[in-house]
Amino acid sequence: MTHSSDTTRRRRLNVGRIWAFVVLAALIFIAVFPILWLVLTSVMPSNLIMRSDPTLFFTPTLEHFREIFGSGREAITTYLVNSIIVTLVSTICAVFLAVLAAYGIARIRPRGHAQLSLLILTSRMLPPVGLVVPLYLIASQSGLLDTHLALILPYIAINIPLATWMLQGFFMDLPKELEEAAMIDGCGQVAAFFRVMLPLAGPGIAAVSVFCFVLAWNDMVLALPLTLREAVTLPPFMSQVRQEEGVAWGQLGATTVVVMAPVVTFTLAVQRWIVSGLTAGAAKG
């Protein structure tokens, strides 16, 4: 009696487990397939793209990547270079300034630094769309419109708050004694910071840099109004492709892969530290 009810329960459990597998597999398919399809499109021969009888089996080709990196009309080199310049410069500046600010806050702990972090967080919560109109007017009046600087400056300003907030958590985690030991051994305050504290905060700084990089690299909200021709980065470029007659899907797919690849790579590389960074900032803010 007990035995038979045990087996039915086990059988029911197994059935439940099979269902769970089926559902999980379906969910993974839904999550991953669209991305996979994009990557496939980027290496699909042109005559097979957007056909009424799509196929998964074809000889992959790099023709679209050759086209977008070539010198022809469909080259994206200008926009790619713009994206790289704007992203790198703004990330380096934002992280440098944020390291200084965060170290200061973590060490000196000025009065009201708790409120300060709250303010920082609140300002990061505000949508960048709120900056579009004033920045557009400022940029066109000052002649900065359609220059790299028009994007670099707002990206720095937007990134500094969150970067500072995350970094101060990392710095607070580092024992003060290490720095004091270095100073006893003859390091000045500045040397102690650069030679001891900065290397120790390395993972944190890497994670924060990725955050800043991703924001600037992906941004379309500011890049769309603040650039016209010369300084156009990849996201606004992609939004213009649609208005032309007959989108070249292979090239669009390849461009999108170029935009996606560094973000996914970097995010996966520092994933661990991003989570710990956010929680560290939260716990000790």
Binding site: L126, V132, P134, T256
Partner: protein, 270 residues
């Protein structure tokens, strides 16, 4: 550094009180709150507000519900399946512009995979981004992209629950659904509120994906607040109205943030 952000935002408020057109030679004219009155009275802009509200309610509730169910599935059956979890989180890792292009490929009328699939089951192709459907399509895409974040946060919260608690509940004869409702859900309430706030904030400001898919069209069917800031300020050159629209967006976001901070302070558990 906060100043760098706050000055343009304050400037934005000042601009929003003017009739300010970038075409013609007319100087900006101070008109007080007229732009805001216009937003509330003109059906065109009032519909944008309502549409944004509907969009936020639909996407956030679907994301939180689905995200919770998926987190529960992972928690119960696959707590250690790291690879599966990473694959499920993929849509969250790619940016809005990439999402926009991915779905342009899939939803395209000629040769998009969705219409090919409809063809397989004998249904005529459909304009997924055409009149009457575009709004639902962009809602679905938003849900696709943002549900993984909810799953991530709620799954992490479930993992921190002591397993003795659930064992005790099941010894006491609680059925699964009862365990979920009376043990898991109350325990992860802080995480629930966190994702609720985050998802709402990000749903309100939705821009890039929709811009790539429809640019707010057809007509105004997918024009949300952020989209109309662009349309008013940069396509119709009415910067006063654009600034006023973006202030509506700012005020909504600020309101939600304040609500959340007040709730954080009230509840010592967090």
């Amino acid at each position: 550094m906060v100043v760098v952000l706050l000055i343009p935002i304050a400037n934005n408020a000042w601009i929003s009180l003017h009739e300010w057109s970038l075409v013609g030679d007319e100087a900006p004219r101070f008109i007080g709150l007229d732009n805001y009155v216009e937003i509330l009275q003109t059906p065109r802009w009032r519909n944008t507000l309502l549409r944004t509200g509907l969009y936020v309610v639909l996407t956030v509730s679907a994301q939180v519900l689905l995200g919770f169910l998926i987190a529960l599935l992972l928690h119960r059956h696959f707590p250690n399946a790291k690879v599966a979890r990473m694959l499920l989180l993929m849509p969250m890792m790619i940016s809005e512009v990439v999402v926009g292009n991915i779905w342009r490929l899939l939803l395209n009328f000629n040769g998009g995979l969705f219409n090919w699939f409809l063809g397989l089951v004998g249904i005529d192709p459909v304009f997924w981004l055409g009149p009457g459907r575009a709004f639902w399509s962009v809602v679905a895409v938003d849900i696709w992209q943002n549900t993984p974040f909810v799953t991530l946060v709620l799954f992490a919260a479930m993992q921190t629950l002591p397993s003795e608690l659930l064992e005790a509940a099941s010894i006491d004869g609680a059925r699964r659904w009862q365990q979920v409702r009376s043990v898991i859900m109350p325990m992860i309430q802080p995480a629930f509120l966190l994702v609720l706030m985050f998802q709402t904030m990000f749903a309100i400001r939705s821009f890039s994906t929709i811009w790539l898919l429809t640019e707010g069209g057809p007509g105004n069917e997918t024009s949300l607040l952020a989209i109309d800031v662009f349309r008013a300020a940069l396509q119709s050159y009415d910067v006063g109205l654009g600034a006023a629209l973006s202030w509506c967006l700012l005020l909504l976001s600020l309101g939600i943030t304040i609500l959340y901070i007040r709730w954080l302070k009230r509840d010592p558990l967090v």
